[in-house]
């Protein structure tokens, strides 16, 4: 289907964009890579009267690593994440995810910021950023603020961003010594959304898990953390029994719906298996 009619703006600066958003309020939608928004408009699930295209704004993309964190510009394309060896080396969780998001064509356009702002529980970055404990920078008419990722997702397709706010940067705390991460996703074919996927970021103290964050993709109405599983594993060594207990805790914590991707039971069981595997892989990477 062809989307319904809309006005189109292509601001050159952040301030212009924010002004446009402030002016049009709920009527307006930000256009980043367009890989979620355009399909939604074509299916008439979204019919914004105004599109504010942020692709022409300089400085919103790119990666920067400081002492404290990795900063990812909101407009950074997924394909860019796959290009850097330092991402593969120091941010394996992010690298894993970048490789399984959509397909290479979509990744050329789709942006990290869009993936988060869209707040689709099927998207992969929300769980990744939950596992990293990332912080999001937003700009609006009232200035800049940061939002901890744990406070970002407020419901299916909804976030704590105001309609006149732009997500500008994602900040991932720089993993310290003994850190490791992994993202495991089961999809029906390359380019499909997850049946279930699991993000794990942890730090090891010798054989013991010192800290761990686990988050789940597409098995709940919003991206969620598997907190009970985290609790079970914290301070423990990796044994079959603790892993199984954590896997089962995550399976119990999720709230999947039955759809063409699979039954509720299958999604839960898959989550259990993926939690066990992802924790193992993350731990292995940490001790390397």
């Amino acid at each position: 289907m062809i989307p319904s009619a809309f006005d189109f703006y292509a601001p050159r600066t952040l301030d212009e964009a924010i002004a446009l958003l402030a002016e049009h309020g709920d009527e307006a939608k930000v256009l980043a890579g367009g890989q979620s928004l355009i399909p939604a408009m074509r299916f008439r699930l979204a019919a914004p009267a105004v599109l504010v295209d942020i692709n022409g704004i300089g400085g919103l993309d790119g990666l920067r690593e400081t002492n404290g964190h990795l900063a990812i510009g909101a407009l950074t394309r997924e394909a860019a994440l796959e290009e850097y060896t330092f991402i593969r080396e120091r941010y394996p969780l992010l690298a894993d995810a970048a490789h399984v998001i959509a397909d290479p064509l979509v990744r050329n356009r789709a942006t990290v910021g869009g993936n988060l702002a869209h707040a689709d529980p099927a998207n992969d970055h929300p769980a990744v950023m939950l596992a990293y404990g990332a912080e999001l920078a937003a700009h609006g008419p009232r200035g800049a603020r940061t939002i901890p990722i744990d406070d970002f997702f407020t419901g299916m397709f909804s976030t704590s961003l105001e309609p006149d706010e732009l997500l500008t940067e994602i900040r991932i705390p720089r993993p310290g010594p003994g850190s490791g991460g992994a993202y495991l996703k089961v999809e029906r074919k390359v380019g499909d959304y997850a049946i279930s996927a699991v993000a794990v970021q942890l730090t090891m103290d010798g054989p013991t898990i010192r800290t761990i964050r686990i988050a789940l993709t597409n098995v709940s109405p919003t991206p969620i953390r598997a907190e009970e599983a985290e609790r079970i594993l914290t301070g423990q060594t990796l044994t079959d029994a603790t892993l199984e207990a954590a896997g089962q805790a995550a399976a119990a914590a999720c709230d999947p719906s039955a759809d063409l991707r699979g039954s509720i039971e299958y999604k839960r069981d898959l989550t259990r298996v993926l939690v066990k595997r992802a924790v193992r892989r993350a731990a292995e990477r940490a001790t390397k």
Partner: protein, 773 residues
């Protein structure tokens, strides 16, 4: 001159297709063309109690709204005219067409279509084929005695007695799913009235002359008044065998006396055209201890959907191939096709053979396991050979080469397995020598006996599976079969140009190039001397459809014979151009005798064997196909590059069918109307290695010995994957497609209290790196 037969000549249409210069039906336009929009039923079964088009007609730009009352002869169909062009009283599936809006713009046509008001009285929906056969089931076509479209029995020998006497008897139950053709280019076209007052339809299809026949019948016109032309065709796979938009275009142009065009959206295409039949097969196979298959009993139930389409013909193939390509003395088959309120099912590459042989090939491997034999050995005992008696009690047509395909496949497999094979396998078989069966097949590693060797270290398990396949080439069961070609040779002392006229559709398979190669070779002229006129029903004679893997063998033979006849005239007579028209008719086939079920169903078959390696993640159920060996007897590879393209494309389509393509309906409604819900494999899902093995054992009928290949890669693939999954895991999957959840269901019983046995690799002392996704 270099021989043209066998040369990998590049496709002349390739550049235009990849640059976008080629003209597809959706690209056509003429001044003053009206846009058409179909009003679909959108409900599976209902009586039309009111139809009001006034609001639609009032939309600015809307020129007319056509309904059933505007159709001169409101029934059409390839085999049986049971489908209304526009429904007047009852709609029988969601994609039934109720009205056709013609407007000056696309937007106006769409606005008009939204305002056509149809008042429906919903009728009870029958969406399960077994329920459709129960007494008292709602009738899809009122006035018929039942929902049965056709019943095809096959009787040979005494299956009951043979099963009672067999040493091993196995039962099986299999289910296949609808498959969507998913050609790149959805249905589209343009129609107008030409200066001679003829209706011209420019579109895509698979058979110019059959489209013309049906359109003429719908309009009540003599066939000469209708011209069908094909432009570039973006794939077909059987999905353009039935009319979709062609007759709607003709109707609107004829009624409105203006050019009209239509382009279906993907969703309209997916709901609007037929699918591959879902089939439920229950069967019983019996064998002697020595591995001789003695009896096959099978019942197949095919969901034909709302209209007959080609159900009757597909059903005959299902019945004939229920016993696969095996020499079995006692056969008892009943195949049924039924009407339901689902999307109609009809032709799709393979035409019933993939469904039937998913069951038969799986059963043969299961018999082997039950007998403690390897799956190749049991095939060597039972496969068809020259002179074998078909299920229909007559000898097979000559050129039976399935054994050669199997041996070639096994030989290639032995090479793939490297060090595991012995010397004979490496150097190839000597005279009368047999390639030893690779150990990977002799005892499936997951088999209970092999499992006694202890648990494998990771959750990822690999296995190879093998299967054979047979498919008729050309029309069957007495359906009139012919192809006609004309060749005109122009020039003085030498042939300066040759014109081949032949109504054969190039649906993307490259047959136009094949035909030119054959004619150029026959005439002894360079390829570019030969021009082809193939896309106009008024300019090219009828060569039959692009289906049943038949154009290379049928149209190729007609083109060859016409070229040879024209060349004779060129040499013997003065007249220029030298012209010859030849109709080639292959050996006759017959319908089955209603009492004895005996007959000669086909004049030629294609054969294949495939070996497939999979990796199964036994904790998630994911199946990855790693390597495919696809061995085919093609008689003669006219164009090697195109041949390998057919094999690779066929394997990719088969992979989709086997692992992910699952067109789903619930209560007559489509759940998968787009490519985000109906999954197609992309290049990233396609096995990294597809190894074609090509045998050239000349066919007695084919031009230069060539025979068809197009459908064959689809036939053995699913059962080969099923066997490979079994080899890897020890479990059989028997419902297509093998989605991760279904595979896991077979392995792990994760719905019940969990048994941990299957997850050895997901825990324990295994290095995590082994769990590669």
């Amino acid at each position: 001159m270099e021989p043209l037969i066998g040369a990998p000549v590049a496709r002349p249409d390739a550049l235009a297709k990849v640059t976008g210069a080629a003209r597809y039906p959706g690209d056509l336009d003429r001044p003053g063309t009206l846009h058409l929009k179909v009003v679909f039923a959108g409900r599976p079964h209902a009586r039309i109690v009111g139809l009001d088009v006034t609001a639609a007609e009032a939309v600015p730009g809307v020129v007319a709204v056509l309904t059933a009352a505007d159709v001169p002869h409101n029934a059409y169909g390839l085999v049986e005219a049971d489908q209304p062009v526009l429904c007047g009283d009852v709609v029988r599936f969601v994609g039934d067409r109720v009205a056709l809006v013609a407007a000056e713009s696309q937007a106006a046509a769409e606005a008009g279509a939204r305002l056509v008001r149809v008042v429906y009285d919903d009728l009870p929906v029958v969406s399960d084929p077994r329920a459709a056969l129960e007494p008292g089931a709602p009738l899809v076509h009122a006035g018929r005695a039942s929902n049965l479209v056709a019943h095809v029995p096959i009787r040979k020998g005494d299956a009951a007695a043979a099963l009672a006497a067999a040493d091993v008897v196995l039962e099986g139950e299999f289910r296949t799913s609808w498959q969507e053709h998913a050609f790149l280019q959805p249905e589209a076209g343009l129609a107008y009235i030409d200066e001679q007052g003829r209706v011209v339809v420019e579109t895509a299809g698979q058979w110019l002359h059959e489209d013309r026949r049906q359109i003429a019948e719908v309009l009540g016109l003599p066939e000469e008044q209708v011209v069908v032309r094909y432009v570039a065709i973006g794939g077909a796979f059987g999905g353009r065998e039935d009319l979709s938009v062609q007759h709607l275009l003709a109707l609107a142009a004829w009624r409105l006396r203006r050019p009209v065009k239509i382009v279906w959206e993907r969703e309209e295409s997916m709901v609007g055209h037929h699918k591959r039949h879902p089939v439920q097969i229950r069967c019983t196979w019996g064998a002697t201890r020595a591995g001789k298959i003695v009896a096959v009993r099978a019942e197949a139930l095919a969901d034909g959907g709302a209209y007959a389409s080609t159900s009757q013909e597909v059903l005959k193939c299902i019945a004939l191939f229920a016993s696969g390509c095996y020499d079995v003395d006692h056969i008892h088959v009943d195949a049924y096709a039924v009407y339901t309120n689902n999307v109609p099912a009809g032709a799709f590459r393979g035409f019933g053979a993939p469904q039937a042989q998913f069951a038969s090939e799986s059963m043969v491997t299961r018999l082997a396991h039950a007998l403690g034999m390897d799956p190749v050995a049991i095939r060597r005992i039972n496969l068809y050979r020259e002179g074998s008696i078909e299920p229909t009690q007559h000898p097979l047509p000559p050129g039976v080469s399935v054994r050669e395909c199997l041996e070639a496949c096994v030989e290639r497999l032995a090479q793939e397995l490297g060090g595991q094979e012995n010397e004979a396998a490496r150097r190839g078989p000597g005279d009368g020598e047999r390639i030893p069966v690779p150990p990977a097949l002799s005892w499936p590693p997951g088999h209970p006996i092999a499992a006694a060797h202890g648990p494998q270290p990771t959750a990822l398990k690999r296995g190879w599976g093998i299967a054979c396949g047979i498919k008729n080439l050309g029309y069957s069961f007495g359906f009139p079969e012919q192809a006609t070609a004309s060749v005109a040779l122009h020039g003085g002392a030498t042939i300066e140009h040759a014109e081949l006229r032949i109504g054969a559709a190039d649906v993307g398979q490259g047959v136009h190039l094949i035909l030119r190669q054959i004619v150029a070779e026959t005439l002894g002229v360079p390829l570019d001397v030969v021009r082809i006129i193939a896309d106009d029903s008024a300019e090219a004679p009828n060569a039959g459809s692009a289906s049943a893997s038949r154009l290379t063998i049928m149209a190729g033979r007609a083109a060859h014979d016409a070229a040879a006849a024209a060349l004779r005239l060129w040499r013997e007579e003065e007249e220029r151009p030298a012209r010859a028209t030849v109709q080639y008719c292959p050996p006759a086939t017959t319908p089955l005798d209603p009492l004895t079920t005996a007959g000669r169903p086909n004049y030629a078959y294609g054969y294949a064997a495939q070996a497939v390696e999979v990796e199964v993640d036994t904790a998630t159920g994911q199946v990855r196909v790693l390597r495919v060996i696809s061995a085919h007897d093609v008689g003669r590879a006219v164009n090697r590059q195109q041949l390998e393209g057919q094999i690779e494309g066929g394997v990719a389509q088969a992979l989709g069918y086997t692992l992910m393509e699952q067109f789903q309906m619930r209560d007559g409604r489509v759940l998968t109307p787009g490519f985000s819900t109906y999954l197609l494999p992309t290049i990233l899902d396609t096995p990294p290695e597809i190894i074609p093995v090509v045998l050239e054992l000349a066919d007695p009928e084919g031009p230069y010995g060539a025979r068809g290949v197009a459908e064959l890669p689809l036939v053995p693939f699913a059962p080969a994957v099923a066997a490979a999954i079994h080899a890897a895991t020890g479990v059989w999957v028997s419902d297509l497609p093998f989605t991760p959840e279904r595979v896991l269901d077979a392995i792990a019983h994760f719905r019940q209290p969990r048994s941990r046995a299957s997850e050895a690799g997901a825990s324990g002392s295994v290095p995590p790196a082994a769990h590669t996704m």
